[in-house]
Amino acid sequence: MNPNWSLIVPVLLTIGIYTLLVKETKIYRFIEHLFVGTTMGYTLVVAIRTINTTGVAQVAAGNYFYLLAFVLGILIFARFFGTTYSWLNRYPVSVLVGSAIGVTFRGLPEQTFISQLRATFLPLIGAADPMTSFNNIVIFVSFFFSLLYFSYTITNRPGRLGKIPNIGRYFLMLYFGALYGNVIIQRAAMFIPRIQFLILDFLRL
């Protein structure tokens, strides 16, 4: 065993955080405030660098009207100055929200609705082999009833479709079950590297 002592700080931090599993201690709170602080500080540095690479570089390239964007950008901090001025930040926010909504919305019809619908238009009978036909039927049925579940007003009045929309819940449960089963990979994948770090990088076993 030949521990790599230069890694002692992250090792202590790692072990300190795992004390939360037993009890919330002062050590844990210290560590959390420490690394949240360093993360926030990092973000501030990135913000300044990014203002340089996007904004200042634009102005340096001769597009002086982008100075107006600097004014709007500074207005985003208006909410720190009390309720009297906080509404000023709605102007930069409205530019952000407006353009984001525009570019997202214009892509949605093709990316979500048309492409996904086209992929659902599958031949139910007469496909290449019976198994494909069966699969196509299952895809269509699960799609149809799951979507029907998410209707709130028209189809759900008494006497219209009765309990049929609730069939969708069974397919949705299958979807969420698959999601749950798959997410275990993520949880394990977040945990294993920490143990690898302790054993392989620090203890060098």
Binding site: L13, F30, L44, V93, S99, I139
Partner: protein, 213 residues
């Protein structure tokens, strides 16, 4: 007047920008693209300023805690503020080439953030013990699917149980695809309705405005 300045004009800005972007997408008129490009570059620069918002509002909140000497938490706030200040100052002096910034980033921030999220492994195992019960048909379907996917994802069980890969892949690519597609479309219908309400100026909560302005 104040309502116009505080609420109406920002709503109009949102509507105009959004419609502009949409129109630009559907035409080949160069004029629309040129102006649209300028709008987008504007948004990117403003977004760069907005990146600082989190750090600054955290700084503000914790400085206030320190000033008020809020019992039991101001000491921790002091740690946080000190960390922000040190990190920002050293970061501006050379980014990752600065040894202090580089050390705080590589040896403090990255390992701690990873460790904190790795705690979820413990909670997911504990919750599985308490929660996953086949108490009715829906819960049974939920549990059965989860178990099949887990058996397929663990390399050991995948190699051990014949046919589990086929069954798992069938579930993922056939019934799951249909249901998740429906879920996606349902969510996006909601988003479309939200977008149209915002464009029409009927949903001002999104920029933080109440009914009164």
């Amino acid at each position: 007047m104040s309502v116009i300045l505080r609420k109406t004009i920002p709503s109009i800005v949102i509507g105009v920008l959004a419609v502009w972007m949409i129109v630009e997408y559907f035409t080949t008129v160069k004029f629309f693209t040129d102006i649209g490009t300028i709008f987008r570059n504007f948004a990117v620069i403003i977004a760069a300023f907005a990146v600082a918002l989190g750090g600054l509002s955290s700084l503000r909140f914790h400085t206030q805690t320190i000033i008020k000497r809020k019992a039991g938490s101001w000491e921790f706030s002091a740690v946080l503020v000190a960390a922000i200040v040190v990190m920002t100052v050293t970061g501006l002096m050379g980014w990752l080439d600065n040894p202090i910034f580089s050390y705080l980033w590589n040896q403090v921030t990255v390992p701690s953030q990873q460790t904190i999220y790795s705690l979820l492994m413990f909670y997911v195992a504990a919750a599985a013990y308490r929660a996953m019960r086949a108490s009715n048909l829906q819960a049974a379907i939920f549990m059965f699917t989860a178990i099949v996917i887990m058996l397929m994802n663990g390399p050991f069980t995948q190699a051990l149980i014949p046919g589990i890969t086929d069954l798992g892949n069938w579930i993922l690519t056939v019934p799951q695809t249909g249901a998740s597609r429906a879920y996606l479309i349902a969510c996006n219908i909601g988003i479309v309705a939200l977008f149209i309400r915002v464009i029409l100026g009927r949903e001002t909560g999104i920029i933080g405005a109440s009914k009164e302005g």
